[in-house]
């Protein structure tokens, strides 16, 4: 099937509005989603993309307007109803059932049966095959929760795609994926499109949008500001529409390239983390970060980047290894003591490990800095308010005020709240695990700029990002990991995406070679014993 503009829309919304309390999240939005085409939804954090998806698929009730599915006005009573009607959705940051195995998750809600009982054998085989399509080869019997966030995201995608749906909606599917996975995902999106599926694709990564999508819709403050074929727009126009600012204005503020600062190699390291080992997770990883230096950690999903950061932060016990700040060794393995030693950590899983959803923005920001804001056990509210205001404005957190509940913010704004929490600690070392995950282009530039600025002020930064580009552009040196072991480091101009990928690929080759060489002889003596 080929996509033609005249085909009737599979899914359409007309004059859709949605209000949360006082906030207008969607304002009179009308969109047509056609079969055999990939439709991108873009916009700043909090523009209303996720809300639109949730209203369409029956998560939230419609305030006004209507949803047309296959030409019929339809109100889905629940996500289940939408799914049964043939709309498969990967919601933003939704974890599946972490305690169930990968295969069981893959088939959750549409289990394969044999004689009334789950056909686990077939479920395992088919789930493994389904994941193969995405190049994911994991033991599908492992509990999903044991796998990294990226793998979980891939499972969710594979699950949705394999349901033979008429419409597949993906809300920021690539936020935890690294380039190789993104590529695979996009090729699957291509396949879906060819088979006539209507795909809705939300992303902040404009490269993906331009390479995979046929039509783009831009939302701003809940309103539809532009919709049209991809061919009729370009990157700059798109950004200016999203932000509502002139393209010229944008150029000035643009700040993506972080590297290129004066070398800092001669300064004494702030953070020394050496020979970090943790059974089955980390194997002798070492990092040295000097003031003003940004050290990137690169590697594939599950290579142990997050674990490295967590062990440095004391959140994951170490089997062996030495960590010191300014030459002073750190012994107590607890986040609280690391914070006292001026190390701050931004976790990658913002929902599970970052925000306290029921608390206000103010309280979320002030949390880690409480000891400094407390006198005689009581919180000095004016001091807290002052600090919060500084970061609230500086990071341009989009909310009606610091007293709004964090759970009501869009994902990107939640991320900014977490960054603010770290920054008000006045840290000397920043461990940032996916700091720009799920945040929009404007905010991303701001965050990247902020990182550069902080580094310039003499902070030592460890940067983990699944966007290789970000690591390459932002780091003064890069440590490459694979399977919890350190493959090597790159410095200065040697840091390129190709160099990193080569390093990883080489290691994979040699490992395969080793396995075939050592595997046989090793088994022999064992058997003879």
């Amino acid at each position: 099937m080929t996509a033609t503009a005249v085909e009737a829309p599979t899914l359409a919304v007309r004059a859709l509005s949605k209000t949360f309390g006082g906030v207008r999240a969607l304002d009179d939005v009308s969109i047509d989603l056609r079969p055999g085409s990939v439709h991108a939804l873009v916009g700043e954090n909090g523009a209303g993309k996720s809300t639109l998806i949730k209203v369409m698929t029956g998560v939230y009730p419609i305030d006004s307007g209507e949803v047309l599915y296959q030409g019929q006005a339809t109100t889905f009573a629940s996500p289940r109803a939408a799914q049964q009607a043939g709309i498969a959705t990967i919601y933003q940051e939704v974890h599946l059932a972490p305690q169930l195995s990968v295969a069981r998750n893959f088939f959750l809600g549409r289990e394969l049966k044999r004689r009334g009982s789950l056909d686990l054998r077939r479920m395992n085989t088919e789930a493994a095959e389904g994941l193969e399509r995405f190049g994911i080869a994991v033991d599908v019997r492992r509990p999903l929760g044991e796998l990294g966030l990226g793998i979980q995201q891939m499972v969710a995608i594979a699950r949705a795609v394999s349901t033979q749906a008429r419409v597949v909606i993906m809300d920021e599917p690539t936020s935890s994926l690294e380039p190789r996975e993104v590529e695979r995902l996009l090729s699957v999106v291509g396949l879906l499109k060819e088979s006539g599926v209507c795909v809705v694709y939300v992303s902040h990564k404009l490269d993906e949008v331009f390479s995979a999508c046929d039509t783009i819709t831009v939302l701003r403050d809940g309103k539809l500001v532009w919709t049209g074929p991809t061919a009729e727009t370009n990157r700059r126009q798109l950004i200016s529409r999203m932000l509502g600012r002139d393209a010229a204005e944008l150029d000035e503020g643009r700040l993506t390239r972080l590297a290129g600062r004066p070398p800092v190699a001669d300064a004494e390291p702030v953070l020394r983390a050496e020979h970090l080992s943790r059974r089955l997770v980390l194997d002798d990883v070492s990092l040295v970060v000097r003031p003003g230096e940004v050290v990137g950690l690169a590697g594939l999903l599950g290579s142990g980047r997050s674990e490295t950061a967590k062990t440095i932060f004391g959140a994951l016990p170490l089997d062996s290894g030495d960590i010191s700040i300014d030459g002073r060794p750190l012994r107590r393995q607890s986040p609280a003591s690391r914070i006292r030693s001026k190390i701050a950590f931004l976790p990658e899983d913002r929902k599970a490990e970052g925000i306290i959803p029921e608390l206000s923005i103010r309280d979320n920001i002030g949390l880690a800095a409480l000891p400094q804001l407390t006198r005689l056990g009581f919180v000095n509210r004016s001091k807290l308010d002052a600090i919060v205001k500084v970061f609230f404005d500086r990071l341009r957190i989009r909310a009606y005020g610091p007293s709004q509940k964090v759970s009501e913010l869009s994902g990107g704004n939640q991320q900014k709240v977490l960054l603010a929490r770290l920054l008000c600690l006045n840290p000397r070392v920043l461990l940032l695990d996916e700091p720009t995950r799920g945040i929009d282009v404007g905010a991303k530039a701001e965050v990247q700029g902020l990182i550069a600025e902080l580094a310039e002020k003499g902070l030592a930064v460890v940067l983990i990002s699944s966007e290789l580009e970000e690591v390459v552009e932002g780091s003064d040196s890069v440590v490459v990991l694979r399977d919890g072991a350190q493959l090597g480091s790159l410095f200065g101009d040697d840091i390129t995406e190709d160099a990193i990928m080569d390093m990883i690929a080489d290691a994979a080759d040699s490992e395969v070679a080793e396995a075939t060489l050592e595997g046989q002889p090793a088994a022999e003596p064992e058997a003879s014993r």
Partner: protein
């Protein structure tokens, strides 16, 4: 944490699907093996604990190891064990059912009341009523989204009120007139083991199967893990939630009918007081998390056995007065759960 035993075994055999990412070499395989080993221990902490207590008991307390004693412990445990099957579903689903003691009493009384009309009536009426009571609470919890703790707490109070109502403030102690066939369910035995024990075993098997081998069981676990995510995944969250309370009510009903069948006579209206706490304790000792999502039927069986074996050991082994008994059994409970928590934390995911 709920990989099935046979799945683990299959992995160890190397049967089944390619277990490990080909490009991840031996490390991942190592990792898989160790995780499975430790998680077997952690998931079965209650089984291990039970084994230890039984072995120590047999050595230390001579009369404890007799066949008769085991038979009796099993029979005594079977009623709450049956209640705990339902409780396991509820707790894995992320809820709790405090009403089971009262629901059980309702079934006990109804079964005796209905016995003049025949054995079938004496069995079926209580089951239908207790299932309905479970359904009502389940619907309130699922549809009105009220907290299960409070709804079933109200159930505990209200259903007991109902029991008092039908017994005229507990004045009536309905009796079974003469012998009725259904009494065999309680008094009969097969190869020396009482029928209630067999029924409990069968219910545990069915419970295990439903939990691990049916789509409904998957839903129960997914909803317990994260109800919101389950909703977004398109699972029938409300139906699943309501159903687990029906199962729980039904299990309490079965236990009640068996109690009447065994005693052959009526029981006072206050029977079953605080059974919910025993059932919950057993489920939790069995490794099921009250936060939902994670749990196992085998664990619950071991948990129940552990509770009753300890109680029996106190009777068999020492001659304690009632309040020292209380201190000992409370202390034992604490020790077991502390060990359980420590073991599963050591071997499970580190935090």
């Amino acid at each position: 944490m709920t990989v099935d035993r046979d799945e683990v075994r299959a992995a160890a055999d190397g049967s089944g699907v390619a277990a490990v990412a080909p490009d991840r070499g031996g490390r991942a395989a190592d990792l898989l093996r160790t995780r499975n080993l430790t998680s077997i221990v952690s998931r079965n902490a209650a089984v291990v604990g039970l084994a230890v207590v039984v072995i120590v008991g047999i050595i230390v307390v001579p009369t404890f190891g007799s066949v008769d004693n085991f038979r009796n412990v099993a029979l005594a445990a079977s009623f709450i064990a049956i209640i705990a099957v339902g409780m396991t579903f509820v707790i894995i689903n992320g809820g709790i059912d405090l009403s089971v003691g009262s629901t059980y009493a309702l079934a006990v009384i109804l079964s005796a009341m209905m016995s003049p009309y025949g054995s079938a009536v004496a069995v079926l009426v209580p089951l239908v009523v207790t299932a309905a009571v479970g359904l009502l609470q389940g619907l309130i919890i699922a549809r009105l989204r009220l907290p299960a703790f409070i709804v079933t707490l109200a159930g505990l109070t209200g259903i007991r009120g109902l029991v008092f109502l039908i017994t005229h403030e507990g004045n009536d102690v309905p009796q079974i007139p003469g012998f009725k066939v259904f009494e065999i369910l309680g008094t009969g035995s097969f190869i020396g083991i009482g029928n209630p024990v067999w029924i409990a075993i069968v219910l545990f098997a069915i419970g295990w199967w439903v939990l691990n081998r049916t789509a409904f069981g998957q839903s129960v676990q997914a909803v317990g893990g994260n109800a919101q995510a389950a909703e977004l995944m398109g699972l029938p969250v409300k139906r699943t939630t309501a159903t687990v309370y029906v199962i729980s009510g039904l299990c309490a009903g079965i236990a009640g009918v068996l109690t009447t069948a065994l005693s052959g006579g009526g029981q006072e209206a206050r029977i079953g007081d605080a059974y919910e706490l025993q059932a919950i304790a057993a489920v939790v000792i069995g490794g099921t998390l009250l936060s939902g999502g994670v749990g196992s039927m085998v664990g619950t069986a071991a948990g129940i056995a552990l509770l009753f074996v300890i109680q029996n050991l106190i009777v068999q082994g020492a001659n304690l007065n009632s309040y020292v008994q209380q201190v000992v059994s409370g202390g034992f409970l604490l020790i077991v759960v502390i060990l359980q928590a420590t073991v599963s934390r050591r071997s499970g995911k580190a935090t």
